[in-house]
Each structure stands twice: as structure tokens, then as C-alpha cells.
Amino acid sequence: MEHYNMNLTLKVWRQKNKDDRGQFETYQVKNVSSEMSFLEMFDILNEELIREGKDPITFDHDCREGICGACSMYIDGRPHGPWHANTTCQLHMRAYKDGDTIVVEPWRAKAFPVIKDLMVDRSAFDRIIQSGGYISVNTGNPVDANAIPIEKDKADLAFANAACIGCGACVAACKNSSAMLFVSAKVSHLALLPQGDPERKDRAINMIAQMDKEGFGGCTNTGACEAVCPKEISISNIARLNSEYLRAGLTIDK
């Protein structure tokens, strides 16, 4: 891979706190190496801002390995930037060339209020999980792990849905700010496993109710969520969620 350096123009959303109106600021970043990650480019810009006595840009990040789900930048109109199946932290600067202008915003959704600059509050996702995204089993209760065989294909599919990192890109990409992909991944993960079966009706109903309560929008099947999901969670899960929800509504004995 050839390495090269580039100069870039960044337009970054700055917002002091949740009550501030916020606005774009423009920055020039020089000598960015094509080997850097996108966040390392922000590190360098922040170091410069601090030296100049200015306020550095606040953004969420932690593992920088694409797995914790903390990073959340809306880059040139796309959550996590131009690469397919990728998180912001794994985006590398060889995606860009000298002279490019890059626009960076926070996730924008009513249920994800901005805390500062590019950092948003995603605690709504925790509350959705609290409403039913688990299997009720106390520590020490279980039977032997191999007591219930699970069809490999089903286990693999459950795993594919459990791969969701809860970053919220699906919500950010959706014109309705719907959280259906996130909720459907969790409902599918647990509904596909025999262990999740006893609670599946309540789970589907309660998680949807909490999702609505948090202020996420409805799903209109545009598929934007699937297109940007860093873990390639399939939109077919939304169909499964709908069927789980319908069936639960029709058959629940409550």
C-alpha cells in the first residue's frame, strides 16, 4: 500500500452543551498520513487546538477496534463515513485524498440529544434493553451447557444478530430516526434461541413500547439502516420483529 500525506478541510459541528444551538466550524488539517485512522486525525487536530488555546472537539470513542460501539460520527451525510460495514474508528485516511473537504456531524435524532459537539446521549438504548432485552435466568440456575442442542444454522443466525454493537448508526441514518434495526436485532437474537423462547411474547411487546416511549420514529422500510450498519445486521430482522410483535399481540394470554 502506497503511503501519502494530505491537507484537508474539516467542517465540524460544535455545540457547547445540550441547550446550545450549535454551528459548524471550519478547520484546516495539514500533513495527514494515509495510514492514520479517522479518529487519529481528530486527535492531531485536537492537540493543535489545545496548543492554540482553543477548546478541543468532544467525541465519543473508546476501544478503537470497531467493537465497543462508542464512536459515532456522521461523516459527509453517512454514519461512520464512506466505507461499507465499518465504524468511525476503523475508517482510515486512505479513504481520502489531498484537498478533500469533510463534513462531520453528531448523530441526529430526538431520542439521542447532543451532549457536546459530536457526543450524544444514547441511554435510550439501555432503557430499551431494560424493558425486555434479556433472558431471565438467575446465576447458578442453569442446566449443563450441552443439555439443549441448538441447530447450528439457528445458532449462527442468533450470533449474527447478537453482533450488534449498539452504536446507533441505524437511527442516525433513518429519516424517521427509527430504532427498529437495533430492537429487531436483540429480539431476533433471543427469539432464535430455545433459551429465549419463554419470554419472547412479552419481550417483543415491551421493547417496542419502550422504543416508542423514547421518541424513536416508525419504520418505513427504506433500508438506510442496513446500508450503514457496521456489523451488517440484516433488515430481514425487522420483518421477524414485526411477526414476533403481531403474533405476541394475537396470542398473549394477558
Binding site: M36, P56, E65, A70, G140, A145, A162, Q195
Partner: protein, 657 residues
């Protein structure tokens, strides 16, 4: 001498006897007892869930925006358990023995045996929670092997086992939140322990969004705050991973055990430049199928594909035929460093070795063709089939490698180099996981207890969940049973006020320095000192220099650091400054500990102590002890020793040949 309070009796009966005789707290009393848990990784989340289920009133704290993002999530390879599902000779004893030996005879037998005993329960628990482990076509669980073992006992979920286990524990935790048993505080950082009458009775935490300091009472406090690998600046840890909670506890009286024991993981993506903010691990599971090599010729600059088979040095297979590419991490790391230092390294930096999948792709391809009945397959067909198998096993790791380096690892061998990954050292705890401060516990990577001087792969997840799900629920009752009459102490108590004032003064002091250098630049300089002088190989002269350099750096930090922004607002630079200040103090202690330990053991390689073949030479006569350091005053510590006794696994020179 420190008392580890290991129960008497035969090794295999200790834990059973303990559980049969420890004190219990009845359900009605549990409801009025409050427990504070710092950190929500595998240890913290599992402890919070288990204690919430028992009926205690629990509060959890994490600096991330959600408990689910704790760095346990990044663990890739797997989790060990002595299930012997593969019928290949595994047992509780063998897992115990491998762990003691892998730790180079520097861990406690009692703790490690308990860990091996509860390992099987962990897998049962996780499966019941819906953790989607890899399975065979018959529907039963699949296993693979990891370094330092000769059986297949590692359970896994592709290359993201940590994520799946953490989500399981997180979901159990969120269930307890929903049931009202746990209150969770995210974007909060613990900045001090509050002690009353010598016991841990609460914490001072800072809300990272508003900058406000908060006081929280607890009958007991559990530190599940992870390891301190970020003292090296570059490590595989998350950017936010820090030692602050453990360090505050240390300053308040908790001894620090074996701080110099750090694990340098052999298979990480090499450093690419000065901009580097962290290093990325390539799972140890890759050593199951990958072969590690360097050119036989020094400074060979040919492309890997141009180097014929007989001009390649598969140095691990050559030096350690019995374990080959699956030697423990410390051995593999040192061997890579040795080759690179001797001038055989590859890549532009020459600080890398190859991890090659060509042979595995061919081997799997041939098996697949046989399965599919393809006769005399062409090389292309074999390759295609082989790539598909490798993709299923390791696909996400290969994708990650390509994103970071821009190279396709199915086509060209990966370049890897060792990087700081895990810290075996941590707060000293007794058998009950209690530190030297009564009521203050440390679980998971935050304690020092189970891995000795080197941790085997797939054992960190095991220990975190063992401590949280199956150990602390018993041992904490033994302490709290005497505390049922203690009413919650109001946080207006002078001890809370004093602790809060101390925290406030320190933050103000930091903000008022208004110097010229950024927090990040100090952290980088500390990391360089630590890596150069307290890294993969240490010697007396280097360590003495490092101590002086760190003391110098500390002075400079406290007189010239620049922190922008204000106190009562979201200010990540201030959060970082708080952490780096603690890392600097820890760095000094690590060097002191490394200097004191004039032997090589596990991850701690003292150049003065090696065999003629360059292997690590342990000194059991003088150093068969845990070094537990008591904080006395700034830059002053007193060494306490806990002698290690081996009744069952008799120490021998580790050999993987």
C-alpha cells in the same frame, strides 16, 4: 507476612468447604445492604447482576456512556472451561495445572483451583443467558485450543467472544436495573474511596457530563475497573482504560500486588507511525492455524511470496517443537523480539514477523475438496475452498487487519509484533477477593490474583466472570454478615466531606497549572519510558534510569500541563489529566517492583537472569513470593511479601520444547 486466608484442607476441597462454612446474610437483611461496584466489564457486570439477584441494593458506575462498552467487549479469542466436552483428557486439575504453570509458578494454588472448578458453571450460565457460542452441526458446543495448553477447552463466538459474554452479563445487569435492584451510573468516574473507621464505606464520583462531584455510600465497595496497560500509552486497551480507581484505593491503603507483571501479547498489528493512538490485537486463536516465520537471511527485503519455503525460519516450531506456534504469550513475544533485534524483522519498520495462513488455507481446502468429492482439484479450487473455511473461522479478524493496514491477509501474510495487552498485577486481594482495606474488594483484571506472572489465553474472561458470578456472591456475605446492623451512613459524614474536598482541591490544582504541554504529550512520554525500560526485557540500569525519568516527568506534569475548558462541564481533557497523573505514579511503582524482582518469570524478563539458551531463569529460592506494595507517601512504598507455597503443582523450569 501477608495472610491470604486460604482455607485449610486438601486443594480440591478448599472451595467446597469454604462455601459450606462461610457466613450468610438472610434475604431480609440483604435488602438493606448497599454495595457499590466500579466498572461494568465482565467482572463488574456479572457481580452487579449476581448480587442484585440475591437482593442486595447495588449501584454500578462506569465512565463509558453504557455499561455494555466496557473493554471486556474487545476480547476476541475465547473463554476456557474444564468441560472436557472433546474427550481429550481435560479436567479441573489440568486447567488448574496449566494455569499455574503458564503463570510461571507465581500464582496461588488455592485461587487457581477455585477458578478451574467454577469454569464449567460459567459456560452453563452464559448459554442460559443466550450467549451464542460457536456450535457443531450436531447442535453441541464447539471448542478450540489456545497457547500453553494441549487440549481443546476454549469456547468461542467467532472472533468476538468478549462482546458476546459482556452482552450476556450486561443484559443480566439491565434486568436487575429494570427490577429496581441496581441503579446504574454511566459517564461517571470514581475519584476516591471513602473510609470510615478503617472500612471502605463509599466513594466520591464525578459526573463526567456536568463535572459535579457526588458522594455515594456503600456497606462495601467492589473495584472491577480493569487493568493498567495504558501506562505504556500504546496498548491494546481502550483509550479510556485507566488505573485511577485502583490507584485511589492504593493510596488509601490497599496494597498493590506484583505491579511489574504485564503481558505483552505476541500477535498485534505493528506500529505504523508517531500518530498511532492505540494498538490492535489479532486474536491468539490465529496461532491455531497460522504459522509464524521470518526470513532466514538478515535484512531480507524480498516480498514474502518471493521467499521460498527453505529460506524461511519458522522459529517457534524450530525452538519449541512440542508446542510450536502455541507456546504461551510471554515466550512467543520474546522470541519475536529476539528475531527482530537480531535483524530478521520484516516490513518497513523491520519490527514485525509474519503470521502466515497459506498453509492453513491449503490444508483446509484439501479437506473440503475431499468432503465434497472433488477429485484432483486444481490449486485454485483448493484455495477457494480453503479461503471459505478460514473466512468462517476468522473472517472478522482478517477484515479488521485489512481495514487497518490496507493489505489483504488472504493474499499476503499478516505482519505482527508484540504489544502491551493485559496486566497480571493489580490490587492485592486475599482468597475472598478483599484488599487490605476491609470492605474493599477487587475483581477481574483489577486484582492480581490468578494469573501469576503470565496469563494464558482465554483465561481473562474466565476469571472476570468467575469472580463476579461465582466467587463474590459467597465471599462478600462472609463480610457483610457482621455488618447487618450498620445503618446507611449519611453522606454528610465528615469523612465524605474530607474526601470530596481532597478531590476538588486536586482538580482545581490541575486546572490552575495552565502550562504549555498537552496531557497527551505527557502520556506519550511516560509510555516511551515504560516501553523502553520496563517493557519486554528489563535490566537494573534501565529501571533505575526510568525511575529518575518518571520522577522528573511528574514534576514537569504538575508544573506545565495545559488543560483547556472548565471544571463544571464535559471536559475529556480534564478526565484524561486525572488519569495520566495516576499513571505516572503507577509507572514509578512498576519500575520499583521490576527492579526488586531480580529474576525472570513469565512476562517479567530480567536480562540479568536467563539461561544459556536465552530462556527466562526463575529464582525460586529468593523470589517465590507475591510483592505487595504499601503506599507510604509520595514516591515511597513499603514492600510486604506473601510467600507462595506449592503443595500440588511443584515448581519446575517451564519447558515448552
Amino acid at each position: 507476612m501477608l495472610n491470604s486466608r486460604i482455607p485449610a484442607g486438601p486443594l480440591e476441597d478448599k472451595w467446597t468447604d469454604y462455601k459450606g462454612h462461610c457466613k450468610l446474610v438472610n434475604p431480609a437483611n440483604k435488602r438493606s445492604i448497599e454495595i457499590i461496584i466500579i466498572g461494568t466489564g465482565l467482572a463488574g457486570a456479572s457481580a452487579a447482576a449476581a448480587l442484585g439477584e440475591l437482593g442486595y441494593k447495588v449501584k454500578t458506575f462506569c465512565f463509558q456512556d453504557s455499561p455494555r462498552r466496557a473493554h471486556s467487549i474487545a476480547a476476541q479469542g475465547g473463554i476456557n472451561a474444564a468441560k472436557n466436552y472433546q474427550n481429550d483428557g481435560d479436567s479441573v486439575f489440568r486447567l488448574f495445572y496449566d494455569t499455574i504453570k503458564g503463570g510461571d509458578y507465581r500464582a496461588r494454588e488455592g485461587n487457581v483451583h477455585r477458578l478451574a472448578e467454577v469454569s464449567a458453571n460459567i459456560i452453563d450460565q452464559c448459554v442460559a443467558q443466550g450467549v451464542p457460542f460457536a456450535r457443531e452441526y450436531g447442535g453441541l458446543l464447539s471448542n478450540r485450543s489456545f497457547g500453553g495448553t494441549q487440549v481443546q477447552r476454549t469456547f468461542y463466538a467467532a472472533g468476538q467472544t468478549g462482546q458476546q459474554l459482556l452482552i450476556g452479563a450486561y443484559q443480566a445487569l439491565e434486568r436487575q436495573v429494570a427490577l429496581g435492584n441496581v441503579i446504574q451510573y454511566s459517564r461517571h468516574e470514581m475519584l476516591d474511596i471513602v473510609k470510615i473507621d478503617g472500612k471502605a464505606r463509599g466513594i466520591i464520583a464525578r459526573d463526567l457530563v456536568t463535572g459535579q462531584l457526588e458522594r455515594h455510600f456503600g456497606h462495601a465497595v467492589l473495584l472491577c475497573s480493569g487493568g493498567y496497560g495504558n501506562v505504556f500509552y500504546l496498548s491494546t486497551n481502550a483509550m479510556g482504560s485507566n488505573v485511577t480507581a485502583a490507584w485511589k484505593a492504593h493510596v488509601k491503603g490497599a496494597y498493590f500486588g506484583n505491579p511489574c507483571y504485564t503481558q505483552i501479547h505476541p500477535t498485534c498489528i505493528p506500529v505504523s507511525g508517531d500518530h498511532q493512538s492505540k494498538l490492535t490485537l489479532m486474536s491468539e486463536s490465529l496461532r491455531n492455524d497460522g504459522r509464524i516465520w521470518v526470513p532466514k537471511k538478515q535484512g531480507d527485503s524480498r516480498r514474502p511470496s518471493e521467499i521460498p519455503e527453505d529460506e524461511r525460519d519458522y522459529y517457534l516450531e524450530r525452538r519449541y517443537p512440542a508446542f510450536g506456534n502455541l507456546v504461551p504469550r510471554d515466550v512467543a513475544s520474546r522470541a519475536a523480539k529476539e528475531r527482530c533485534d537480531a535483524g530478521y524483522g520484516v516490513g518497513t519498520s523491520k519490527q514485525a514477523v509474519y503470521l502466515d495462513y497459506a498453509a492453513a488455507i491449503e490444508r483446509y481446502g484439501k479437506i473440503e475438496c475431499r468432503k465434497l468429492g472433488i477429485e484432483n482439484p486444481s490449486a485454485d479450487v483448493v484455495r477457494k475452498q480453503g479461503v471459505a473455511v478460514v473466512k468462517e473461522k476468522y473472517g472478522n479478524l482478517f477484515d479488521m487487519y485489512e481495514k487497518i493496514t490496507g493489505e489483504n491477509p488472504y493474499e499476503v501474510p499478516m505482519r505482527i509484533y508484540p504489544a502491551v495487552h493485559y496486566t497480571m498485577g493489580g490490587l492485592w486481594v486475599d482468597y475472598e477477593l478483599m484488599t487490605t482495606v476491609p470492605g474493599l474488594y477487587a475483581l477481574g483484571e483489577a486484582n492480581f490474583s490468578d494469573h501469576g506472572a503470565n496469563r494464558l489465553g482465554a483465561s481473562a474472561l474466565m476469571q472476570g466472570l468467575a469472580d463476579g458470578y461465582f466467587v463474590i456472591p459467597y465471599t462478600i456475605g462472609n463480610y457483610l454478615a457482621d455488618d447487618i446492623r450498620t445503618k446507611p451512613i449519611p453522606t454528610t459524614d465528615p469523612a465524605f466531606e474530607a474526601a470530596e474536598k481532597e478531590v476538588r482541591d486536586r482538580i482545581e490544582k490541575l486546572m490552575n497549572i495552565k502550562g504549555k504541554q498537552t496531557v497527551e504529550s505527557f502520556h506519550k512520554r511516560l509510555g516511551k519510558i515504560m516501553w523502553d525500560k520496563c517493557g519486554m526485557a528489563r535490566n537494573e540500569k534501565g529501571l533505575q534510569e526510568a525511575i529518575v525519568e518518571i520522577q522528573q516527568l511528574k514534576k514537569e506534569f504538575w508544573s506545565d500541563v495545559r488543560i483547556p475548558g472548565g471544571i463544571n462541564e464535559m471536559n475529556p481533557e480534564l478526565d484524561k489529566a486525572n488519569r495520566v497523573a495516576d499513571f505516572i505514579e503507577l509507572g514509578e511503582l512498576m519500575c520499583k517492583d521490576a527492579l526488586n524482582r531480580r529474576e525472570s518469570c513469565g512476562g517479567h524478563f530480567r536480562e540479568e537472569s536467563q539461561t544459556e539458551e536465552g530462556e527466562a531463569a526463575r529464582d525460586d529460592n529468593n523470589f517465590q513470593y507475591v510483592a505487595a506494595w504499601e503506599f507510604k507517601a509520595d514516591s515511597q512504598w513499603e514492600l510486604h511479601k506473601e510467600a507462595l507455597e506449592f503443595e500440588v503443582a511443584k515448581p519446575s523450569q517451564r519447558s515448552y520444547k
